[in-house]
């Protein structure tokens, strides 16, 4: 007996002309139907769509990896590569390590694992060198390099040229040779030395009673 509930709803959703949209995909990922390998057709399209259109859906991607975990014969290298590369673009979220926990060690994806390792340890210099030798990987995902540059900026790990490029693109002011004005760093430095302030009303009630 099949463990999958094949009621009219699910059959309808497998209609060949169903549009590959986030909404439709997530309808498939409900309850036990999430584990139905027949979903892989549309899920594969959805993963490729994310690569082309610079969108990202971690839940759907993890669902694909799960289906591969349950059905190793259905494993597709290209899809997995895209999912992992996309996960890197979503750093600092740790989607990449979540993906890793769902897949057995595989020689074919070890290059991507290595790139992930470099990013997690913020070895940007080595990362860009490695990526240059693996252009086929970055080609799988539209806008991959841009996303990583954004990440590097977030963490502050850019070299001079990259910084200038981005600063110009984003309209930031160059203050002097060492500084670019982004935003008030003091406010963002997360210092919790707060100064206290009295609220006027509270103060008034006390002053008045004196």
């Amino acid at each position: 007996t099949s463990p999958f509930v094949h009621n009219s709803k699910t059959t309808a959703s497998l209609h060949p002309v169903m549009e590959v949209t986030k909404e439709n995909v997530h309808k498939l990922l409900v309850g036990i139907n999430r584990y139905n390998p027949e979903n892989l057709t549309i899920l594969h399209s959805y993963v490729e769509q994310q690569a082309n259109e610079r969108t990202y859906d971690v839940e759907a991607n993890l669902a694909v990896l799960k289906l591969y975990q349950f059905n190793p014969s259905l494993f597709q290298l290209n899809i997995v590569s895209i999912i992992l590369m996309k996960a890197l673009t979503n750093l600092p979220s740790n989607d990449f390590s979540l993906c890793r926990c769902l897949m057995e060690e595989d020689e074919q994806i070890s290059r991507i694992f290595y790139l992930g390792e470099l990013l997690e340890t913020c070895n940007f210099v080595t990362f860009w060198e490695e990526l240059a030798q693996n252009k086929d990987l970055s080609a799988k995902v539209n806008g991959f390099e841009e996303s990583i540059r954004d990440l590097a900026k977030l963490l502050g790990g850019l070299n001079e040229n990259e910084l200038t490029e981005i600063a110009n693109a984003k309209g930031w002011q160059r203050v002097d040779s060492n500084k670019i004005f982004l935003a008030n760093q003091e406010l963002n430095s997360n210092s919790k030395n707060m100064s206290f302030k009295f609220e006027i009303e509270n103060l008034a009630s006390i002053m008045g009673s004196g």
Partner: protein
Amino acid sequence: MAGQEQGFYTAAEEFVGAQFDSLLPSYNTGSDYDGGIVDDYDEPPATANQTYGVPDFVRNYVRSLYRAFTERRIDEMQMLCEAGFIKLTERSFSKSPWPDADRIAPIVNNGAKAPVRLELPHQWLWNIIDEFIYQFQSFSHYRYKLKHKQENELAMLRDHPKVWNVHGVLNVLHSFVEKSQINNQLNAYNNGDDPKTVADEFGRCPLYKMLGYFSLIGLLRLHSLLGDYYQAIKVLENVQLNKKSMYAVVPACQVTTYYYVGFAYLMMRRYQDAIGSLSNILLYIQRTKNMLQDKSYQFDQIAKKELQMYALLAMAWIMYPCRIDESVLSLLGEKYDKEKFIKLQQGSLSQFEDSFAYACPKFVSPVVPDYETLSQSQHKAPYQFQLKNFVNEVKQQVAIPIIRSYLKLYTTMPVAKLAAFLDMDEDNFRAQLLSFKHKMNNLVWMKGQRAIDGEFQTSSGVSFYIDGDMIHIADCKVVPRYSEFFLQQIRKYNELVKGLS
């Protein structure tokens, strides 16, 4: 009343004893592993009249249990379950599991059209789900263990790949969740509405409702065993973990819940949330310890989980030293081996491995092995894989504690100078600093959110930014709120004075 109970107990025990006497010796020889299918091949022709794989005495036991169940003889049921089940398990199933639920279900004609009008203790419902997953876990391990397997065992495994199939287990749990409409009920409950208003006759029935709830916890556990930490936490999206709940009624279930939640958060690198969850439950256990009977089955289970959680807490807190409840910290000092703690603090990878091995769940593979190519240690592969991922993370963070301790000493420091102190070349050190920022940036759950959600935060003692060649360090000290304290005192004093005059 006591006499009557005694009567029931004796009757049940006698019944069970009688069944044992008809047992043949072959059932008492098990494999060297604590799991294995009841070996049908040893069955003599006399007992040919049985459902495949289910020995007669089990059939009879289940039938009498079902009779008691439908005739609402709750006391008898309780005795059969607690005394009978344990005895049967000790005698025949200490080395093999009970036949799985699928085979037993036909005996009791499942598939009712209307809710079974019955009340069962919540503890039992939890035990059913808990045991069910335990059987799946055990069997999954058994399948991969090559040692001492006879050819007939292997043949039987090969011929029955669907036994304890992961989809079957998922199907059971999801069915309970759907039938009980537990997610809708939880949602209503969270919004302050009466859950009964969103449930149909099945959902309103406590039996189904609680089976639904416990199945959510079952899914949390199952996904964790398979390494899917995201989905593990996701299934709890309607469960409010840090609040008092009318569903949180079984201590063993609570302990299991927070153990797996804490573990999943740890693997997701959400250290603050892991520490929070583990702290909550460890305090809970400490406070309710006296209420649980000593030596009950529950007590042992909880005690074991408690120690595992202290190990998890130690690791999480060492990787992410944030504010932690004082009492929990002192309990950690009492309950977790001090030498091990020191080794963890020193970044000993082997100690992290050992503590992880001790504290982690028993991971399983969801697929049937290739019996032709099965190797001796392949059953350990899922565990080794998750261990590798965890240790990898620890390795990436190995320099963080020492960097932190240096940063705490200064408010500004040139990058080059600190790199020299740490005996690193400057480029490498810069990468380490960025990595520090990255790793200490945690996704943290906020009030009102689902357990899977969170916002990025850093609360690990020290934060900094790099300005050219200089590091600027901000210590995260919280200034005591003198203003509010004084205002409060002034008001109190005024009230006091008013009262006197």
